[in-house]
């Protein structure tokens, strides 16, 4: 498949009959992160295939009747449509709200219920959507913040900085201190705590690196079941980078190789457990930090060291030159479009 092919070019058709119009509408809605009004849909259609408003509305309403599209409450007086049912939209919004950090269940449900596009969506169905996310471990239940009793819901495992920040805000409020004052005090406390650590005991991170050698993804050795995979991501971030920097010939402290591995993990934390990352996406993240040649050489070097695995793209002539430029090309003119991390051994 032409992986770098843009959808808008993929759906261009010479003229619009209802079936083709519907196919284009569905593509547009599938790409959209939100339900769209018909005007917005029409704007995204290729000009040659764009029907007049009325036929477009007919096609869409027919698809709604056939169960292929779903109608949502009107926004600014205009009916909105999506290719997914309201339950899916609710699920999406639940996840999206949690991307900004943990929330309590009532905060979360309250925020979603307030959405105009979910007007009339039953409360029980919303709770069921949340239960599904919890049972499939997409959302996790975390311990409550210090001094609170309500458990938190989050996409990520519990992260101590979230808890520290919350405690920090509570202490500031309780003592009536400014943030600046409290930060000074906190620095002093941190220094004291560090001094109390026995020097002979190596840090957890150093011990892990020593035990696991130089493999960049040593943490993945413990290929945890999925429920634990995300929980391990945090540890992998910590462990990967020093391990990579320990490699001979690599400048320690933020060299490109290390940053590339870190960048891949940031794009898709599941890459540590066997998932993939698009080279083009990683390249986009390193715009202005590394030129193409430098970037390609770094990835090929990492692959040669077996710290990442590069996957060949076998149809480079099917994509434009600009798209091809996004891939990594080796000396033998093979193109690579995705990368993953080596299997744990």
């Amino acid at each position: 498949m032409d992986m770098a092919h843009d959808v808008s070019t993929a759906v261009v058709l010479p003229a619009a009959n209802p079936a083709e119009t519907l196919a284009i509408v569905r593509e547009i809605l599938a790409r959209s992160a939100e339900p769209l009004g018909l005007k917005a849909v029409a704007q995204q259609m290729p000009a040659a295939a764009r029907p007049a408003p009325e036929p477009l509305a007919e096609v869409v309403q027919e698809a709604v009747r056939a169960g292929q599209l779903f109608e949502y409450p009107a926004l600014r007086g205009q009916a909105t449509f999506w290719d997914r049912a309201a339950a899916d939209y609710a699920t999406l919004r639940l996840r999206r709200l949690l991307q900004s950090g943990p929330r309590t269940k009532s905060e979360l449900l309250g925020a979603v219920r307030g959405l105009k596009l979910l007007d009339g969506f039953p409360k029980a169905a919303l709770e069921r959507a949340l239960d599904d996310l919890l049972s499939t471990k997409v959302i996790q239940k975390l311990p409550s913040f210090v001094g609170a009793r309500t458990p938190l819901l989050s996409l990520e495992p519990a992260r101590s900085p979230d808890y520290l920040r919350n405690a920090f805000e509570k202490v500031a409020a309780k003592l009536g201190l400014s943030s600046a004052q409290l930060v000074n005090d906190l620095s002093a406390v941190t220094r004291d705590l560090a001094a109390e650590l026995p020097e002979s005991v190596p840090s957890e991170r150093a011990r892990t690196v020593e035990e696991r050698g130089n493999a960049p993804l040593a943490a993945a050795e413990n290929d945890l079941p999925v429920s634990g995979e995300i929980a391990a991501d945090e540890a992998i971030h910590d462990e990967t980078i020093p391990a990579a920097a320990d490699k001979p010939g690599v400048e320690p402290g933020g060299d490109l190789d290390t940053r590339l591995i870190q960048g891949a993990l940031e794009i898709n934390p599941r890459v540590a457990h066997g998932d993939m990352v698009l080279v083009a996406e990683l390249r986009g993240r390193f715009d202005f930090q590394a030129d193409k040649d430098e970037f390609d050489k770094a990835l090929l070097r990492l692959a040669g060291q077996r710290r990442i695995a590069l996957h060949r793209f076998d149809r480079p002539w099917l994509i434009s030159e600009a798209e091809r430029d996004q891939l990594v090309r080796d000396d033998e003119d093979y193109f690579y479009n995705t990368l993953s991390f080596p299997d744990p051994t």
Binding site: P14, A19, G274, R306
Partner: protein, 670 residues
């Protein structure tokens, strides 16, 4: 420079082995049983382990799970599923009499997305029905386990089973009906299961479960109503749901999808990926005991992110997404050593005191290359090295020659194995590829959900709008299809032309008077019935399979993946005449050959009379004797013709070639 372009190694001593141990790496089906010694367990072991864990997760958590596996062509996706199949299904005779821990089905997605559910139902049913005369199939074991639990039967599974069949035979219908009520199975499904348990009407049972058409007598034997004219996709969806319910929450149903990319009609077809996402989402949510393992090329990875809605992507890879990485040095060494051992190259190894001999570690590293390589590429490098050591002349065909040979092989295979049961699937999948091949400017789209037709074919300048209907139904279903078409064509369907396609081996019987009436009415409105010849179906089958394998990167010519575009180009230049004729009908709306209705009537009469004198048959059909004999001679796959002494054929005898030995046996030996 690739290692394959480097000068061949200096010829060494002859190794005395007839077969190159490194040739032959493509596995076309997870059920094929390659030499187990050649399966290297530690290749992709982590991915394999994840799949096994997903099965346990579903069993323990009561929640369905999706695993997506991405790999380059040749990375071993089908080998991995084969290993999983061996792990998850029993391999010993005795084990077949244990309760199933999980059920397993393998689905290659060489299908048009418009009939995805029908295809999945068929493949799942086929795999659940796999068994031998002596061994029960997976489906029987699922039913028996449920019945045993329902009857609180303890102890030995096999003894209980024997007891049920020997002592309580008469109660089976009632027990299965009670099971259906308890776990929510459809009554028809239950009725068919009863026949399965009692080993009655095996042919019709398996045809019904696979979603194939069965005869009127078959429906009567199974004591079920003829399939209503419902949406066939919905019917298949319901049967799949019944399979899941029958398995029960403790027995995961593992469905492995292979060649996801073969769903695409063109290389930038994104709608098919969207439809696959819908399928996965709906199966995932249909019950709590499904494990969906989807294998696809790494190049499709971007498509998953871009073209699948989030809910579908979550279900596709919610449990895990795994890549099949290039081989490590250890994996590569193990693979080559296993191959050497499997072909018995021990003596050579002993002499050189190295398990890799006659290869060296340096050779191995060279084959593997700086980035590592896939198992297929490694084996190809090793195979060429071996040929050079054996002083085999390297007579490498060009790709076109190889494709020609491959086409012949596949066409022969398709001709040999083709049955009318495959016709609907072949047409639905093959026709869009044929149109795309012959004239990519023509668009063939699946008709809207619930439409009376299957596809709409539109010309590049909108100059034609042709409806296609694959008429494979029989009896009442056929009549109601034709009636609906007659009512809706051309006005409601907004078509300029309607083409009905039907396997010529399925004549519409003379007794189907209402069907004929509607057919005639349709023909008066300029619709055509094209009776698709058997050789066209076989060629179309070969074509679609070749294209699907090319899409999936599974066409391997000496370790090199033969590209999709190469295959398409070759097919364009070498399309068999029978497919050219078919594409003319579709695209230029040439009229079907006039003799096709004569063929239909002749078949109909021969089915009733078996062997007839040619002059009598000509009179019955109201054609000249010469015309009748010419048709029979042109279609030897349908008609047998024995000529006597008279060159005009007045003493010729006709019989149905389809009746085969049974028909000839009816001729007195004298």
């Amino acid at each position: 420079m690739s290692v394959l372009d480097s000068p061949l190694p200096l010829p060494g001593p002859k190794l005395g082995l007839a077969r190159n141990p490194f040739r032959g790496s493509v596995l076309n089906d997870a059920w094929s049983n390659p030499n187990l010694q050649a399966d290297v367990q530690n290749i992709h072991q982590a991915v394999f382990q994840t799949c096994c864990e997903a099965v346990e997760f579903v069993r323990d958590s009561g929640s369905s799970a999706g695993v997506a596996i991405f790999g380059e062509p040749g990375s071993g996706k089908t080998h991995l599923i084969g290993r999983l199949r061996r792990r998850l299904t029993d391999t010993t005779v005795d084990a077949s009499y244990e309760k199933l821990s999980q059920a397993f089905a393998y689905v290659r997605l060489s299908v048009n997305p418009s009939s995805l559910y029908r295809h999945v139902r068929k493949r799942v049913a086929e795999d659940l029905l796999k068994g031998t005369q002596q061994q029960p199939c997976q489906l029987e074991r699922l039913v028996l386990a449920q019945l045993m639990e329902q009857e609180h039967g303890g102890g030995n599974f096999r003894e209980w089973w024997d007891h049920l069949l020997d002592e309580r035979n008469a109660e089976v219908d009632e027990l299965v009906a009670a099971l259906g009520s308890r776990i929510g199975l459809s009554p028809t499904f239950c009725r068919v299961l009863s026949h399965l348990v009692l080993k009655r009407h095996r042919h019709d049972v398996s045809a019904w479960l696979r979603g194939e058409s069965i005869s009127e007598a078959g429906y009567q034997a199974l004591a079920i109503g003829e399939a209503p004219d419902d949406d066939p996709e919905q019917v298949s969806k319901d049967v799949l749901r019944d399979f899941m319910r029958l398995a029960g929450p403790q027995v995961p149903l593992v469905i492995c999808f292979d060649q996801v990319e073969a769903l695409q009609v063109t290389s930038n077809d994104t709608a098919s990926l969207f439809q696959f996402g819908q399928l996965v989402s709906e199966l995932h949510d249909a019950d709590t005991n499904v494990v969906l393992i989807s294998c696809m090329q790494a190049s499709l990875f971007a498509g998953v992110g871009r073209h699948l809605p989030e809910y579908a992507a979550t279900r596709l890879s919610g449990y895990a997404a795994k890549s099949l990485n290039p081989l490590t040095l250890d994996n590569a060494r193990d693979l080559l050593v296993h191959r050497l051992r499997a072909c018995g190259a021990f003596s050579v190894q002993t002499e050189a005191n190295s398990p890799l001999a006659p290869l060296s570690e340096a050779d191995l590293k060279k084959f593997l290359g700086p980035q590592g390589c896939t198992p297929r590429a490694l084996l190809d490098s090793a195979a060429r090295f071996w040929d050079a050591l054996q002083r085999q002349p390297v007579t490498r065909e060009d790709t076109n020659q190889w494709l020609e040979r491959e086409w012949d092989r596949r066409a022969d295979e398709a001709t040999r194995t083709n049955t009318p049961n495959q016709t609907a699937e072949i047409l639905r999948h093959g026709v869009p590829h044929l149109v795309q091949l012959v004239d990519p400017h023509w668009k063939l789209n699946a008709a809207a959900h619930g439409s009376a037709i299957d596809y709409v074919l539109t010309g590049p300048e909108q100059e034609a709008r042709v409806g296609l209907k694959f008429c494979e139904a029989v009896h009442n279903a056929l009549t109601s299809q034709l009636k609906r078409l007659d009512q809706e064509y051309p006005g409601d369907l907004k078509l300029q032309k309607l083409l009905l396609l039907r396997d010529e081996r399925n004549p519409i019987g003379a007794t189907a008077k209402v069907a004929h009436k509607h057919l005639k009415s349709l023909e008066q409105k300029d619709a055509d019935l094209y009776r698709v010849p058997t050789e066209a179906l076989a060629a179309l089958d070969a074509l679609r399979q070749l294209i699907a394998d090319a899409q999936a990167g599974d066409l391997d010519y000496e370790g090199t993946t033969v590209e999709f575009d190469t295959v398409v180009g070759w097919l364009r230049n070498n399309l068999p005449d029978v497919l050219k004729e078919m594409s003319d009908l579709l695209i230029t709306q040439a009229a079907p050959p006039p003799e096709s209705s004569l063929i239909d009537r002749l078949q109909e009469l021969l089915l009733a009379q078996r062997v007839v004198a040619a002059p009598g048959m000509a009179a019955a059909l109201n054609v000249s004797l010469a015309e009748l004999l010419a048709v029979a001679e042109r279609r030897p796959e349908l008609f047998g013709l024995i000529r006597g002494a008279d060159t005009n054929g007045s003493d010729a005898v006709l019989f149905s070639a389809r009746a085969g030995g049974g028909c000839l046996a009816a001729i007195p030996s004298s």
